[in-house]
């Protein structure tokens, strides 16, 4: 058991625990904070999977951006309301579905015949840079277009009725 294995387990437990807590808690704020912790733990997993740039992007965009955005939405929409929400309902049916789906995924993962992990690359950043501005340039540019569209859409949704 190497250090990264230990860390993998630690991060995995944190991620799963936070995800579960975030889904189950009746306090909206705690749910969002749990999401933040979950995302950070997943970023840790990314780092362990030799995707350090993706890990940083995850923290940059998710924790620094999306979680903050959610907190904003929470505070702007329910700033006066601090009562716990209605908890989860339809638990039986939903957990059946979730167990079925998750069980199937886990079963498929265990059964999958995966190749051995190849030797590590020196650093992912140069390869990623070349991929983003080379082979995957279209995806990269397209992402920019999507983000722009999202910004426009969000603005037009929330602007007040007067033009």
């Amino acid at each position: 058991m190497t250090a990264s294995d230990v860390l993998f387990v630690v991060f995995g437990v944190i991620a799963a625990g936070c995800a579960l807590y975030g889904v189950l808690t009746r306090f909206l704020l705690r749910s969002i904070v749990a999401l933040g912790a979950f995302l950070t733990a997943v970023a840790g997993e990314f780092y362990l999977l030799a995707a350090d740039f993706v890990a940083m992007v995850q923290i940059f965009v998710y924790v620094g951006g999306i979680v903050v955005l959610m907190l904003f939405a929470l505070m702007l929409s329910t700033s006066g309301e601090r009562q716990p929400l209605a908890g989860s309902d339809r638990r039986g049916f939903s957990s059946l579905l979730a167990y079925a789906l998750g069980g199937m995924l886990v079963w498929a993962s265990i059964g999958a015949k995966l190749p051995a992990v190849p030797g590590g690359l020196p650093s992912s950043v140069p390869y990623l840079g070349r991929a983003l501005l080379g082979e995957q340039l279209f995806a990269f540019e397209f992402l920019g277009v999507i983000l722009l569209a999202a910004v426009v859409a969000a603005l037009s949704l929330v602007r007040s009725e007067r033009l």
């Binding site: 579905l97 789906l101 199937m104 079963w107 498929a108 059964g111």
Partner: protein
């Protein structure tokens, strides 16, 4: 060098974009000029709205948005600068050509299947000359517009459109393949439409724009079909390849004649030849500088240029050339006669333009494209001059009907003199430019086309008569007081330098441009088209020159006798008006009324431009509208709607049953999706392992 070539149309295009975006931005940010304000009823009371109308600033100091004023002031000069830069690039490229180099730019734009669509520009002698004509006239007209359109509500939009036109026209003359050519062809059409309809609140202007667009479209369809045929046959869009194929081995079967005729259809539409000429007189609804630039000097000449440029396709088809010649000659003659009777000075000039274009087309049909191009070249200058001078008159007086104009030579001396120069050039009096080019055409016709020669000689006589009729009535004689003059207060006076400088420059051009001679044009044209030198224009017999000049002078003298000797105007005598309503109007030149009396129905036929418009309305438009009505009321309402409603009824019935599944609850949908995913995933996993 290729980049330089590309820069020529790009500079005005950039100006277009800047003005369009700038204008739109100001409009969106609420700092709009009067148009945006006029739309918003509530804003009418705001002081900024009133003050933004420069002509309405009666000493009213109000909060004017500085950006609007700045943009309105800068728009004109910006587009002048853009066209001037394009002209400068053109001159540089032309100088490079004179140094022996042929400037060309060619790249593959995109591919469709096996067809490679090129983007190629070329500049040798022919295109260089066209760039000079288009750029030169364009600069002067832009400059003139700065004065003429001053205070117009949509001046930014106007200059944006004018810049777009200049860019498109430059692209058109530089095009070296059919794709770019057609693209530019449609672009000039579109900008022409926009500019004709510039005063779009006037129903007449809106209708004229629509008419121009639809009428030229008929021709454009022909051109497009011609291009399709060429691509199908030769597999290429490139000029050189297509021409080579058309010459050797030639187009197969009936295509030999059909393709040139189809291409000529485009020219007929754009150059307002019979029978598609009806849009051009109506196009005079646009601002006068637009008429000068687009509907006299450049765009309408594009049809002639098109035929000249694709002449190698016409050469193997003498039958097609005969058709071209006949259409040109008929147009030249009939349009010249219609010009005799028109009362609106711009209408006279419009028919004159049609007639002159007929001269060019006749020359094309007679196998002397060099002469046609020469006529195009000289005509661009002096017809732009005539239009701009007319614009100067309209700008100063606010009137454009001859009945209400007269004796302006004292008030507007520069306009009068320059108009006279243009008229002399149009009448073909030596040494003005029109003489040289007209002589070239007539001389060539003398060598084997006696019928055309006769028709054009008659047209020459009429031309001289109608243009001098205009000159004498408008500028000589006593001043005509029209109602409203006193109310307007301001006396009629010469326009500012920004307007008369272009007039003077154009007058000098109308005087001097003919001395280049057709040889100047012939050589590069032949080279450009790859024709052999044997078809170079030859000097005509001496008697043609004598007859033509004599006819021109006769026209002038007769016009003098009819309109200037006795400055006779129809009075508002009660009895004549009562007897013959419509024929005798106050201020109408007396000779016109006498002519109408003596000629009767012939006069009215000519006056109504041979009732072509009425014929179209009755035999084309009316049946079309009737058919549309039948389709709309019977077929659409009965059959189509029946089917649609039946389908809708079915769907409604089916939907009523399925509706219960649609709960509107997001989570129900998610649950459904999840179940679906599980099923599909189970199937996939089962299939794989």
């Amino acid at each position: 060098m290729g980049g330089l070539l590309l820069a020529i149309p790009l500079v005005p295009l950039a100006v277009f974009v800047v003005l369009l975006v700038g204008g739109a931005y100001l409009r969106l940010t609420g700092a709009a000029g009067p148009r945006g304000v006029a739309g918003a009823a509530g804003a009418a009371a705001s002081p900024g709205a009133v003050a933004a109308e420069p002509s309405a600033t009666g000493g009213q100091v109000a909060v004017v948005d500085q950006r609007v004023v700045a943009l309105r002031a800068a728009a004109g000069w910006l587009s002048v600068a853009g066209v001037a830069a394009a002209l400068a690039f053109g001159v540089v490229a032309l100088v490079a050509f004179r140094g022996g180099a042929e400037v060309a730019l060619s790249a593959t734009w995109f591919r469709v299947g096996s067809l490679e669509v090129p983007f190629s520009l070329r500049m040798d002698g022919l295109q260089g000359l066209m760039v000079i004509v288009v750029g030169g006239v364009s600069v002067l007209v832009h400059l003139f517009s700065v004065g003429y359109m001053h205070g117009d509500r949509d001046v930014v939009l106007y200059f944006a459109e004018l810049s777009l036109f200049s860019a498109a026209m430059l692209l058109l003359v530089l095009a070296d393949d059919f794709f770019v050519l057609y693209m530019a062809w449609e672009l000039v059409g579109a900008s022409s439409y926009l500019l004709i309809s510039h005063y779009f609140e006037r129903p007449a202007a809106a209708a004229a724009g629509k008419k121009a667009f639809l009428t030229t479209r008929i021709g454009d369809v022909g051109l497009l079909l011609g291009i399709f045929a060429l691509v199908r046959i030769t597999g290429s869009l490139d000029f050189q390849t297509v021409f080579a194929h058309a010459t050797e081995p030639g187009l197969p079967g009936a295509w030999r004649v059909a393709v040139p005729l189809l291409i000529f259809m485009g020219a007929v539409g754009k150059s307002a030849q019979l029978p598609l000429h009806v849009w051009l007189p109506d196009a005079m609804e646009g601002p006068t500088p637009v008429s000068a630039l687009i509907h006299a000097a450049t765009m309408v000449a594009a049809g002639v240029y098109l035929v000249a440029r694709t002449y190698p396709i016409f050469v193997p088809a003498p039958e097609a050339l005969t058709v071209v010649g006949w259409i040109g000659a008929l147009t030249a003659l009939t349009a010249a006669t219609v010009g005799l009777t028109q009362r609106d000075i711009k209408k006279v000039l419009a028919y004159s333009t049609i007639s002159q274009l007929g001269f060019m087309v006749t020359a094309l049909g007679a196998g002397v494209p060099a002469a046609a191009m020469f006529q195009l070249f000289t005509h661009a200058w002096f017809k732009a001059l005539l239009f701009l001078a007319a614009g100067s008159v309209i700008h100063a007086t606010g009137r454009q009907v001859v009945d209400e104009l007269g004796g302006l030579r004292r008030r507007m001396p520069i306009t009068a003199v320059t108009f006279a120069a243009g008229a002399l050039a149009l009448a073909g009096i030596p040494p003005f430019a029109g003489f040289w080019s007209k002589e070239e055409i007539l001389g060539a016709l003398a060598g084997g086309h006696p019928v055309f020669l006769g028709m054009l000689l008659v047209a020459t006589f009429f031309t001289a008569f109608y243009i001098f009729r205009l000159l004498f009535v408008v500028f000589l004689g006593p001043e005509v007081e029209a109602e409203g003059d006193v109310a307007a207060g301001a006396p009629v006076r010469e326009s500012g330098p920004v307007m008369w400088v272009p007039l003077v420059v154009l007058a000098l051009a109308a005087l001097g441009m003919g001395f280049w001679g057709a040889g100047f044009l012939g050589y590069p044209l032949q080279k450009s088209l790859g024709l052999d030198a044997g078809q170079a224009p030859v000097a005509g017999p001496w008697w043609v020159t004598v007859v033509a000049v004599t006819l021109g002078l006769a026209g002038i003298v007769l016009a003098w006798l009819a309109y200037a000797r006795r400055p006779a105007r129809a009075g508002a005598a009660a009895e004549t008006v009562a007897e013959r309503p419509g024929r005798v109007r106050p201020g109408r030149p007396a000779f016109d009324a006498r002519l109408e009396d003596s000629l009767g129905w012939t006069y009215r036929l000519v006056d109504h431009a041979y009732y072509v418009d009425a014929l179209y309305t009755r035999f084309l438009v009316a049946p079309f509208v009737g058919m549309a009505r039948f389709l709309a009321r019977t077929v659409d309402a009965g059959l189509i709607d029946g089917i649609v409603n039946g389908v809708a009824w079915l769907v409604t019935g089916a939907g009523g049953g399925v509706r219960r599944l649609q709960t509107g609850q997001v989570r129900d949908y998610v649950a459904a999706v999840t179940v679906g995913v599980i099923v599909v995933a189970a199937l996939v996993i089962g299939a794989l392992g």
